[in-house]
Symmetry: C2
Amino acid sequence: MKLVHTVAELREEVAIAKSQGLSIGLVPTMGALHEGHASLIKAANQENDFVVVSVFVNPTQFGPNEDLDAYPRTLEADCKLAEKMGANVVFAPSPAEMYPSVDATWVEVTGDVTKVLCGRTRPIHFRGVTTVVTKLFNLAQPDRAYFGQKDAQQVEVLKRMVKDLFFNLQLRIMPIVREADGLAKSSRNTYLSAEEHTAALILSRSLQAAKEQYATGERDAAKICAAVTASIKSEPMANIDYVEIYGLPELTPVTNPMVGSNLLAVAVKFGTTRLIDNVVLEDK
Amino acid sequence: MKLVHTVAELREEVAIAKSQGLSIGLVPTMGALHEGHASLIKAANQENDFVVVSVFVNPTQFGPNEDLDAYPRTLEADCKLAEKMGANVVFAPSPAEMYPSVDATWVEVTGDVTKVLCGRTRPIHFRGVTTVVTKLFNLAQPDRAYFGQKDAQQVEVLKRMVKDLFFNLQLRIMPIVREADGLAKSSRNTYLSAEEHTAALILSRSLQAAKEQYATGERDAAKICAAVTASIKSEPMANIDYVEIYGLPELTPVTNPMVGSNLLAVAVKFGTTRLIDNVVLEDK
């Protein structure tokens, strides 16, 4: 496996792979790789001849009061895991390498899909995501790109971007990977104290209960949200940002009664750490 | 030559060309093809195995009071010219085909390059251009894309976009093609009455004079602009939008004295028709 830091080096690796007719899988990450990322790289390796993993803590998707500086950076361990899971190249550029101009060129998905949920409190977040993912798509020219369902809103935003801008690739969305205790894997879990970690288990428990509520026939989104909210509030350390349900795809307003596929998404702070989790509610 | 109207058809043509290892040249146009466009298609044909010409009057680059509805549409003649100049495919999609979602995904270059000159009076214009060109790049996957120096600001904006988003292609910029009388070729020239056409010749004459002024050693941008402004104002039908000089690339503020490469650009209305023209001032 090769570790490269510059756009020129990545382009060379990709050009060689392309010239050999290899299919390319891209796994964009912000590093601090965990088993969730590992599952993406593994899938990319199974479905493509050549796998590029990017490790880039993208500054433009962090708000002014967010955790850009604190975000864990573990490149050496990331490379080991990426290699183990079958990556051919790890691309770990500097911010200057990814943003070569003083002023930016932005790629921005508009509409409800970027305004609701995390878009409300993180107004520039998805613009940063779609901009950097566009850059990575153009550099790696993947046949398939891998993202986790954990970032459910990001998934819907990227689907819209790929559809609108006609990117010639397939988005592959992989299921949430959880700790044995149910906590959704996240690079930000390392911020949690042992006590906060235990408290945060309320998220997966509440979402699981909502899934069961839905399975027994509940189709009133307000009732499901109320139950999840009450359950999370039973944990004193939890500080709710949102508990909401939106229609899939594209996070349209949920209907009453709920029909089709809907996303139940939560964002909750434990101490200074903001965690997100979600479950898709749909008929089997 | 094939005329296709859908994204799916274009993708198929491109996929076939790619599978045969052909290099692809893309000529994005809004139709109403004239000799300027012909020179682009000809160059694309000389430098690539497979040439895609897009003909799409892109609604998102027109302001609310601009000439979207009036813009000339001459698809049949465009196809004939494109074929004659060596195009393999003409792609003439509908707006709904190019903008498949209710809300848009925008690609926007920020900074002075989009704010000065035409950007001042046409605030959404370049966002529309960069968005549609991104879509066309992703669909046609060209090795080279062809644009005319006539739209000098567009050229600088697209250079920035390609640089910032890492499009894997070469921008090929072709010289302005002029009528025998000096008027820069433009699809909008068809709007001009015979009298307005004659009046509009003041543009190329004034720019040519500025070039000579520069050649004789004038390096004061304000003086050159003043001379061009006075010359254009000598034509009673001319209504000046701007006469300005900016540094190249990226339309930075011009220095005094002028150094390097600078763009002298004008936008002037004759009746209701707004024409642009330009000349690059640089040492030989």
